[in-house]
């Protein structure tokens, strides 16, 4: 089975580390973290992401830029790598744990 490729964009470096660690702890999930909309779009040219998470700190323009670029689910991630992360991904991709 192919990995689920997850892109996360946010501005808080330590929170991004936590989110990335949680994603990569799940077998079959692979996370990529970037800090700007431009990087997010550039990464998308190299990696076929299944889902994109918008983290804290992005402004409206950046969020819109990312949402318009990607054809896969782009969702707001709430909580900062907390107990909500996995449920958000399961729900957006309509998959079970």
């Amino acid at each position: 089975m192919q990995n689920i490729e997850i892109l996360i964009i946010g501005k808080h470096p330590d929170i991004m580390k936590t989110i990335l660690r949680l994603i990569n702890n799940k077998p079959g999930w692979n996370g990529t973290a970037v800090f700007t909309a431009d990087e997010a779009i550039e990464k998308g040219n190299a990696i076929p992401f299944n889902i994109v998470l918008l983290g804290a700190g992005l402004n409206v323009t950046e969020s819109k830029q990312i949402q318009e670029h990607y054809k896969v689910p782009v969702i707001q991630h709430y909580g900062g790598g907390s107990g909500l992360l996995y449920a958000e991904i399961y729900q957006a991709l309509n998959i079970q744990p």
């Binding site: 946010g10 501005k11 808080h12 330590d14 929170i15 936590t18 983290g55 804290a56 700190g57 992005l58 402004n59 707001q76 709430y78 909580g79 900062g80 790598g81 907390s82 107990g83 909500l84 996995y86 449920a87 399961y90 729900q91 079970q96 744990p97």
Partner: protein, 238 residues
């Protein structure tokens, strides 16, 4: 006509880490149920018990309004804004995580367990400056009446959050009734029974049961046995 949903206490998700026992009304951590994701803007209702001397190590939050209500014992809090505080039964704590905050929380007692509710509400604005507050409530102010403990307004009773939400605690004697009038159109109320027995709209609720009601502007709560309960009014769309 009012719409309702009933969540019996036994239907909640459960996590048992030894030092932590947590019941999740909505999907959280290792508990995932697509039918139990949120009630309007109310996203998390965790009923936690932490053993003496134990607690949650440093971890981050962002873009969430986080409310803690100790039911028994005290919880020590330390965060990246250098807030150090203990909240005890009778207090309420609120954090607006906004752009990001790290914190840790531990049982303030080395032997006795602490019990508390942790409640997360989606914010109505993203990326606010993180903030922390706590308040000691007067328990007498909720004997046989509703006590507002949270609102969207810094100048109103209780703590405040970035959401069009109002929380009330009530501690009522058996045989009484009270009415709750919703504050805002489009809001619903999630009722959580801390202990005792009440009835709303024909549904009997016992200890730790949850009940959501919306598409109404008011409802009546009948007290079947001495009861303490929490009313969480939140926007159903946000």
């Amino acid at each position: 006509m009012a719409q309702t949903i009933f969540h019996p206490a036994a239907s909640r998700g459960k996590a048992d880490l030894g030092w932590l026992k947590s019941y999740h009304t909505f999907s959280f951590g290792g508990y995932y149920n697509p039918e139990r994701m949120h009630f309007g803007a109310l996203r998390v209702l965790n009923d936690d018990t932490v053993d003496g001397g134990e607690g949650f190590g440093e971890h981050p939050h962002d873009n969430m309004e986080i409310i803690s209500i100790p039911l028994k014992g005290g919880l020590k809090h330390h965060d990246s804004m250098d807030n150090v505080a203990v909240i005890n039964n009778g207090d309420i704590q609120v954090m607006s995580a906004g752009t990001g905050i790290f914190h840790e929380e531990h049982n303030d007692d080395q032997t006795e367990a602490v019990q508390f509710l942790q409640i997360w509400v989606y914010p109505n604005v993203l990326n606010v400056e993180p903030r922390y507050d706590q308040l000691t409530l007067n328990k007498d102010d909720r004997h046989n009446k509703l006590q507002q403990i949270l609102s969207p307004n810094p100048d109103d009773d209780g703590v405040w959050i970035h959401q069009n939400a109002w929380f009330n605690l009530g501690g009522f004697d058996k045989g009484l009734s009270t009415e709750y009038q919703l504050k805002a159109n489009g809001n619903g109320v999630y009722v959580f029974v801390i202990n005792g027995s009440i009835r709303i709209n024909g549904q009997v609720l016992n200890t730790r049961d949850g009940f959501g009601i919306w598409d109404t502007d008011k409802f009546t709560i009948d007290i079947l046995e001495d009861a303490e309960f929490l009313l969480m009014e939140v926007p159903m769309s946000f």
